[in-house]
């Protein structure tokens, strides 16, 4: 009997201990009424930009804590559709935003606040002497792209269609960062990633712009959720992102500003 109590007690303690971290935050908030939390779900490619804007927003809105949840847009969309709590959703593709709007979760129409374009990425100094998109079809090159299921892969497919050039990649990576990683580690000669990824990789890679990238521009839409606990703050965040300050940070990171 004693053993049973001990075992059950230990299990309960273990569960309580694991779950306690999130619960304990609630009473602290109600004690200070002016403290508010704005939850923003954002595409992973916005990490640098939104983290910078978070500082500015928290400075302009005292007592507000911005909680940023970064991830693949499709994962975030699934989390929202399955009841994930958020005030704002910023997606890296119009298609994933549609998943959320179709579920009736977005207030009004989402607004496109930035655009991204593909760029060829190679080792520093461009050792394979790649000058344009057509070079990626060269049989002597190990080329990596994103899989068509993810936005950067869909964009790559669009460029292939527009140019009539078919690539034979050695791998179709599940996200743009692992595509970039193949080139930074030297395991691939060239890859197709976003301009912003090339910018964030700094000196470890070289980016080569190509005119055909204009045929596959990726839109970044932002929207306030209908169930937002902080609708005013959500609108204020959206205004910051689409306003002059937000646009400056975005273009600084390599994004093309709002159309």
């Amino acid at each position: 009997m004693k053993v049973r109590l001990l075992a059950v007690g230990a299990a309960v303690l273990a569960l309580a201990g694991c779950g306690g971290a999130t619960d304990s935050a609630a009473p602290a908030e109600s004690a200070a009424p002016e403290a508010r939390t704005l939850t923003v779900f954002a595409a992973a490619s916005l990490t640098d930009v939104f983290t910078e804007l978070e500082t500015q927003f928290e400075r302009d809105n005292p007592g507000v804590d911005v909680v940023l949840n970064y991830g693949a847009s499709s994962d975030l969309a699934q989390q929202l559709v399955n009841g994930g709590p958020a005030d704002v959703f910023a997606s890296a593709s119009a298609a994933t935003m549609t998943t959320v709007t179709d579920a009736g979760l977005i207030e009004g129409d989402p607004e496109v606040f930035a655009q991204n374009k593909l760029q060829i990425v190679t080792a520093p100094g461009n050792p394979e002497n790649i000058t344009g998109f057509a070079d990626l079809a060269r049989p002597d090159l190990q080329v990596v792209v994103c899989a068509p299921q993810v936005p950067c892969g869909a964009a790559a497919e669009k460029v292939e269609m527009a140019t009539g050039i078919t690539l034979t990649p050695v791998s179709e990576e599940p996200d743009v960062r692992s595509t970039l990683g193949r080139v930074t580690t030297g395991n691939a000669d060239a890859g197709l990633v976003y301009v912003t990824d090339v910018a964030s990789a700094g000196d470890t890679v070289e980016g080569i712009a190509f005119p055909e990238a204009d045929s596959a521009v990726t839109d970044y839409p932002i929207g306030v959720l209908t169930s937002a606990p902080q609708p005013e703050l959500a609108q204020a965040w959206t205004d910051l992102v689409t306003g002059a300050d937000g646009q400056a940070v975005l273009t600084g990171a390599g994004f093309v500003g709002a159309p």
């Binding site: 299990a11 994962d75 699934q78 190990q142 050695v170 791998s171 599940p174 580690t185 395991n187």
Partner: protein, 274 residues
Amino acid sequence: MTAPPVTRRVGRSEQAAVGLPRFLWIPAGLAFALIALPVVGLGLRTDWPRLPELLLSEASLDALRLSLITATCSTAICILLGGPLAVVLARGRLPGLQFLRSIVLLPLVLPPVVGGLALLYLVGRTGLVGQGLELAFGITVPFTTAAVVLAQTFVALPFLVVSLEGALRTSGQRYEAVAATLGASPALAFRRVTVPLVLPGLLSGAVLAFARCLGEFGATIAFAGSLEGTTRTLPLLVYLARESDVDAAVALSLLLVVVAILVIAIARPRTVAS
């Protein structure tokens, strides 16, 4: 000379003496629910009418075929290399054997993606061995089916080694000692006595390794890449499918669960029940 019979007789009274304390049922039930219920959830979320269409697409058949072929190859390598390693670990008299054993267990505790990165930095194009392979023979390992097999073998090897080493230790060395007194060489005693004796342990280890190979994701994606028909195994396809078609991802997950249960159910109980 044949191996002596190894059946042990357990009397009725001896069995009855080992009771099952009733309080164990509650945590045991919870533990089982923790494993089984998420899989039930997967079944509930499945789009059953679309299931055949989702499973019979060319991409999923390619991935299933690749998964089965690579898991079979990897398991064979696990037996060929891991079998002898288990014997050395169980029977060898070397200083530092304990340390060797903990190295062998590393893939069990490391995140698989770390294993993938480690392989990449060893046999990738800029890796220690990979650079030489490329210069001398023009061989590039990442992005090939061989890379998938290598990644799977890396993560699955400890499962075989641990199972087999356990079987070797449990069986003891009495029969081999008898064989030796009867004039059998170590090689003959190993072949005719040791191998038949630990065959169930080897089989259960191989099944575990095979199941682990089927589920391998992290090391494969980090090291081998993902290309339909070459490196995109079933777990990689599940990961990719959930980006665009969650129903397809769930259907493929269910397929993976069914294959894994089949593999374990067919080979496991026989080896444990003995």
